[in-house]
Every structure is written in structure tokens, then in C-alpha cells.
Subunit: 206 residues, 2 copies
Amino acid sequence: MKARAGFRREAPEDRRRQLAEAALRCIVRHGNAGVSARQIAMEAGVTQGLITHHFGEINELVAHAFDLMANGMLGTVMNAVDHAPADPKARLEAFVENSFSPALFDRDVLGVWVVFWGLILHSPRMSASQKGEYTAYVITVEKLIADYAAAEGVTIENPRLAAIGFTALMDGLWLAWCLNPEAFQPEEGIQIGKNWIKGLKLGAFA
Amino acid sequence: MKARAGFRREAPEDRRRQLAEAALRCIVRHGNAGVSARQIAMEAGVTQGLITHHFGEINELVAHAFDLMANGMLGTVMNAVDHAPADPKARLEAFVENSFSPALFDRDVLGVWVVFWGLILHSPRMSASQKGEYTAYVITVEKLIADYAAAEGVTIENPRLAAIGFTALMDGLWLAWCLNPEAFQPEEGIQIGKNWIKGLKLGAFA
DNA sequence: AGAAAAATTATATGGTCGTATAATATCTCT
DNA sequence: AGAGATATTATACGACCATATAATTTTTCT
């Protein structure tokens, strides 16, 4: 056989990242149908065999892409939060506002997550990744909320539950808006998030 | 060719329902991979050709299954609400508690919805169904909330936003718990829902 | 009872899927 | 410069996919 086409040899970790990014683009374009070794390889400008070589089976590539995306999104939001004024209220509101920024509040981004959710429900490997990433997310939110509550002098009986609720609210709004952008305006989403914070301050979780 | 196997001829609407129900079972079992004419036909004890005959293309069958499921779920919850005491507070709390009942707060049920969400994002036909069903859902919730607010003497500046937020919270909790049942207990989910109502009463949306 | 209509089966076709295998190009190290 | 290591290509295989077409059974209507 002639492997006649010239190619560039790359470090395994680079290739793995390239393939993961190509997978995300394919999923954006075609949803579940985009999860295909052939399509992903073509998108990465590479042959299918490379996926087998670097990941063994394609599910492992998808799980890698999932980790990449999850870390990237939390990193993006928290980076914005850390650039807000050090005031706890400002930080919490920066979290809300950035969660609704076009970079995250986006149909393409949700489309990728929906595919991941479907896989999490049927794959132990994906489920394991999700558990770690969800926990990290909730802990981050819990800290933002606890700092805010302390600064405002509000008592919160169970900060963990508050964080879970707030996270769920944001995810639910994200989901609803992406599925049907006519349902409400992003600014209305921000308003709903801030109303939740107002409820917290008024003692809903006391 | 010999169509040798005996078969029972059924009314088109019956067959369509049978096929839709078989589709739901297939999706429960295998997620996106369960959306397959062959598998669904086998699950329904029927030949693939019947799907073509009754639905034209398989996407139309899936959309039909979606409508069936959405109507069934809202019907189930509202049936329970209508069996609660006529008091607005009792009705709203019945809504929360029943949303977290094992019939709905269920990994299998979420698994079906996740598949639908994925399709909604990429199919105008599915998106059209979703718009109608989401609107009906929010309007129902808005009425429950408005009645509650009136009974408690709370003002709500924008009842629509409150209903969207409450719906998003419930969906987000459903999603989070199904993806990772260790994250919190269903009773904690009910508590979070009731805390949201408490916030509403305290004036979070005033 | 007999014929027309429609539901259902049976089969064929062309495409895509995941992955295994072997050949080969590129790189690194000495 | 040359050899070993491995990243990468090329190709093959069997399974499943959606859907079209034609044959056949069941039902209905008279």
C-alpha cells in the first residue's frame, strides 16, 4: 500500500486536542449524527485510523472532547468573574451576566451539551466525567453564593442546596432559550437570575 | 414474493400510536441509537415498511412520538394538580411534588427528552412541535403562580417571567438529578422548589 | 360471494458506520 | 547518515441504516 500523501507528524497530545476540537465542530454541525469517526477525521484533515490509534475507540475521543469543553466553559465564566470587582455581589452578578453572554448562551453550545447528556445517560465513561465536572461547577457556585450571603448578612440554611438550585435555574434557562429563542430575551434571563438572587437575599433559603 | 406471515390489520391511528410507543421504548433503551426504523419496527412486532407507509419518513414518526409524550406528561402532572385541594397554594405545591414524582423524575424519561432536544435543535419539524408544547406548559405554570400570588396577596411584576423561571428551575433540577442521582435527593429537589416559592412570596418578583 | 382498497410483508439497493490490519512516511536519536 | 520507533495512511470487512418497490394478505363494501 502507498501512504503517498505527505503528512505532518505531531505530538500525541496535540493530535488528541485537534481531534477533540474537530469532534466538537462536527457535533455543532450535525448533532448526534456528527459523532462519526469518518466525519471527525475528515474535519481534522486526517484519516480515520488516526482516531483508533490515539483513542482506541471513538467514545473515548468523545469523552475527551467533553472534558475539554466543560473545562473551557467553566474557565471562561470564572475568568470573567475574576475580572469583576472583588465585591461578592459584583462577582455573583458577573457570573449571571456572563452565563448569558453570547459565548455560552448559544444554540451551538447547547447542541454539543445535549449530545453529551445523551451519552452520559448511557455510558459509564461519560457519566464519570460528568460527575466530576458537575461537582466542580456546583462548588464554585456555592462559594460565590456563600460569599455574597456573608457580605449581605443573609443566613442560608443549606448553601449546597442553594447552589444546586441556582445552577439548575441557569441551566434550565439556557436550555429553554436555546430550544426556543422566541420564548424570552437574554436580558429577561438575566433578570430572572437576578430575581433569584433577590429571593435569596430576602430569605428564601434562610 | 410471499407475504406469508399472517398479520392483523389495524386502523391507521392505532398503528401510528403503537409505532410511536415502540419508538419511545427504543429510545429509552438505546438513546439516540434507538431511533432506527428497523429497531422500532421490530419492537412493535411489525415490518419496517409499515413505518414508511404510515409516516413517510422516520422523522415524522419521531415527531409524533414527541407530541404523544409531551401531552402525556403535562396531562399527568395537571391531573394530579386537579386532584389537589382547590386552594392555590396546595395546587402549586402539588405541581412541585408531582413534578418530582417517580413517574416523571426518572432517568428513562429524561433520556427520551434529551433525544428530542437534540432533534429540536436540528429539525424545523421538531422545533415547531416544541414551541407549541413549551408555550402550553409555561401558560399552565403562569396560571398556577398567578392564582397563588393573588391568594397570598403578593404582587408579581411580570408573571410570565416568573413562570419561565420556575419552569427552568424544575427542568434544570430534573436534568441535574437524572444525569447524576447522587447529586441530591428528590426530597431536596422538592425543598429547592418550595424555597423558590418562598422567594416569590417574599417579593423576589415584585 | 366477489371485487376494490388499503394495510402489511418481503426484498433489494446504495450508503455509512466502527474498527482491524498492513504498508509507509516522518521523526528522533545516536 | 542510518536505524529504530511510531505516527499516519490506505484498505478491507461485516453490520446496520433509510428507503423504494412489488407482491400479498386482510378488510370492507356491495
